[in-house]
């Protein structure tokens, strides 16, 4: 009798608990997962209407220099600018205060990332803060299997309006986020992210999305686009 009773009850209990777990996890997943990474509008190329280079990257058009034509320049006194090398990235809204180290491009075209995930890399071949044109490109880890959370762990949480500050040459350069995008790595819009013939902008690149264990890399790049604070988006 007792045995028979138990037999009657356990399938019902299993059904109820099962439904609760399945339903709860589905709801929980839906609630906690961000509705998507895309926010705002990526600022368009500003003052230049440049051609397209062999890698799909905008290249200089003769005579398009912001300082006018180059003819006869050789006799003139030069307009010398010292590069303002970024040394620290601050995004208080997501708890980022990270050292910035210069970095460059490796064979095959990938921008090298500083080995310590708590550091952020600055593409030293790209733009620098305070210039009238060009993109300051910063790149960082979400995390590292070996060394733990990266500086840009929460980059996906920035939103249009989030303030980003880049320290360079003792000055604070303030930017305001205008767009956030998630791109499949294979589909990274190289010109938008790395192109230099643009109105001044800051591009912060990190990685997110699904993790591909076979390559050891995330399949998405999270990219935050920001413009100097106070200027039109």
């Amino acid at each position: 009798m007792t045995a028979r009773r138990r037999r009657v009850r356990w399938p019902v209990a299993a059904l109820i608990v099962g439904l609760a777990l399945a339903g709860g996890s589905a709801v929980g997943y839906a609630v906690t997962r961000p509705p998507g990474h895309d926010y705002g509008a990526v600022p368009p190329p500003g003052i230049y209407q440049a051609g397209t280079g062999s890698q799909g990257v905008t290249v200089a058009r003769p005579g398009a220099s912001r300082r006018g034509g180059t003819a006869g320049r050789s006799a003139a006194a030069p307009d010398v600018t010292a590069v303002r090398v970024p040394v620290r990235l601050l995004i208080p809204a997501i708890g980022v205060s990270a050292p910035v180290l210069p970095t460059g491009v490796q064979a095959g075209g990938s921008l090298a990332i500083p080995p310590d995930p708590s550091d952020v890399g600055w593409w030293a071949g790209g733009g620098f803060p305070g210039e009238p044109t060009g993109a300051v490109v910063l790149v960082g880890h979400i995390n590292s299997a070996v060394l733990g959370p990266g500086a840009l762990l929460r980059l996906q949480d920035v939103r249009p309006g989030t303030v980003i500050t880049v320290m360079a040459s003792g000055q604070a350069y303030r930017y305001r986020v205008v767009a956030l995008r998630a791109y499949a790595k294979a589909g990274l819009p190289v010109a938008a992210v790395f192109g230099q013939q643009v109105a001044p902008r800051l591009v912060v690149v990190s990685c997110g999305g699904p993790f591909d264990a076979s390559t050891g890399h995330y399949l998405d790049n999270i990219v935050a686009y920001a413009v100097p604070s106070g200027t039109a988006p």
């Binding site: 037999r7 009657v8 399938p11 299993a14 059904l15 777990l21 709860g24 996890s25 929980g28 997943y29 906690t32 997962r33 961000p34 440049a50 280079g53 062999s54 890698q55 200089a60 220099s65 300082r67 180059t70 320049r73 050789s74 030069p78 010398v80 010292a82 590069v83 210069p102 970095t103 460059g104 491009v105 490796q106 064979a107 095959g108 075209g109 921008l111 090298a112 990332i113 080995p115 030293a124 071949g125 790209g126 210039e131 044109t133 060009g134 880890h141 590292s144 840009l152 929460r154 996906q156 790595k185 990274l188 190289v190 790395f194 230099q196 999305g209 993790f211 050891g216 890399h217 790049n221």
Partner: protein
């Protein structure tokens, strides 16, 4: 003008490299996009603070031994470079003069150094910005000191032999810290170092041997510059858990899966019970 033959050669080589590069992916850096060259200036003459002029305009003031200035962005063009003792009049006779041609996107370094016999000289070096291999950087050694030819060791292995004043040599090495030392050619006692030189992936690290061996002012300064043109990808976040760190998927899959299993078990159990 007073640029050494080697400097001219290195500039020519630089231009050739740039020309070759332009067939592929070039003109993409910020400096190229704005028609500018990137120029670094190194002071390697002991006890001689100077002002540096380009086309008559003072661009560096009170520039002292062992200082690396820049990188500076200079519009492409031809420049008359004059080096005068610090604080002397702009019209006074320069200590050193040279004419430099810089092209858009070029990365160059101008060194005020000494020849092997101790004569001050301006030397222009084109910085080779071609990409190094994955996780590699470029180590460049430039001898601009009043000293005989030298050998350079990385750890215990000799990587550069017989480098004379005015010359440079480069090698691509894995990123990391390179324990380097400089000896007089053919000898083993270090005249510089050993010192750990940081080599960064995607970056060139230039070590300048400057000063005077006879004057006991031989020392080294370093400069870093970016390699590899424009990126086509960024491989951040190598390896790890928590793809979307705020919303890991696996707990939901685990719990949801357990729920589905329970539902199935319950359903089977119910069916059996009814049949019984």
């Amino acid at each position: 003008m007073r640029i050494s033959k080697l400097a001219a050669a290195s500039l020519t080589a630089g231009f050739l490299a740039l020309t070759a590069g332009s067939a592929g992916a070039t003109a993409i850096s910020a400096s190229a996009a704005t028609g500018e060259a990137t120029v670094t200036v190194v002071h390697g003459i002991p006890n001689t603070p100077v002002d540096v002029y380009a086309n008559g305009k003072k661009i560096l003031s009170g520039f002292t031994f062992k200082t690396v200035a820049g990188p500076l962005q200079l519009p492409a063009g031809s420049y008359a470079i004059d080096v005068r003792k610090a604080g002397s009049a702009a019209a006074s006779a320069p200590v050193l003069s040279a004419t430099e041609q810089v092209t858009a996107g070029e990365n160059a370094t101008i060194v005020a150094g000494l020849t092997a016999s101790g004569t001050p000289v301006l030397t222009a070096f084109a910085n080779d910005t071609s990409a190094a291999g994955t996780s590699k950087g470029r180590l460049v050694v430039r001898h601009v000191a009043e000293a005989p030819a030298v050998d350079v060791y990385a750890g215990s292995s000799k990587v550069i032999s017989g480098l004379a004043s005015g010359q440079q040599q480069a090698l691509d090495v894995p990123a990391g810290s390179v324990p380097a030392k400089v000896t007089l050619a053919g000898q083993t006692a270090a005249v510089l170092g050993p010192v750990n030189v940081p080599v960064t992936a995607g970056m060139g690290t230039v070590v300048y041997a400057i000063g005077s061996a006879a004057g006991h002012t031989l020392t080294a300064v370093t400069q870093q510059y970016p390699l590899g043109g424009a990126p086509s990808s960024a491989q951040a976040g190598s390896g790890g858990l928590g793809a979307d760190p705020n919303t890991p998927v696996w707990p939901f899959v685990l719990i949801g899966g357990a729920g589905v299993a329970l539902i199935a078990t319950g359903a089977v159990g119910t069916a059996r019970r009814r049949r019984a």
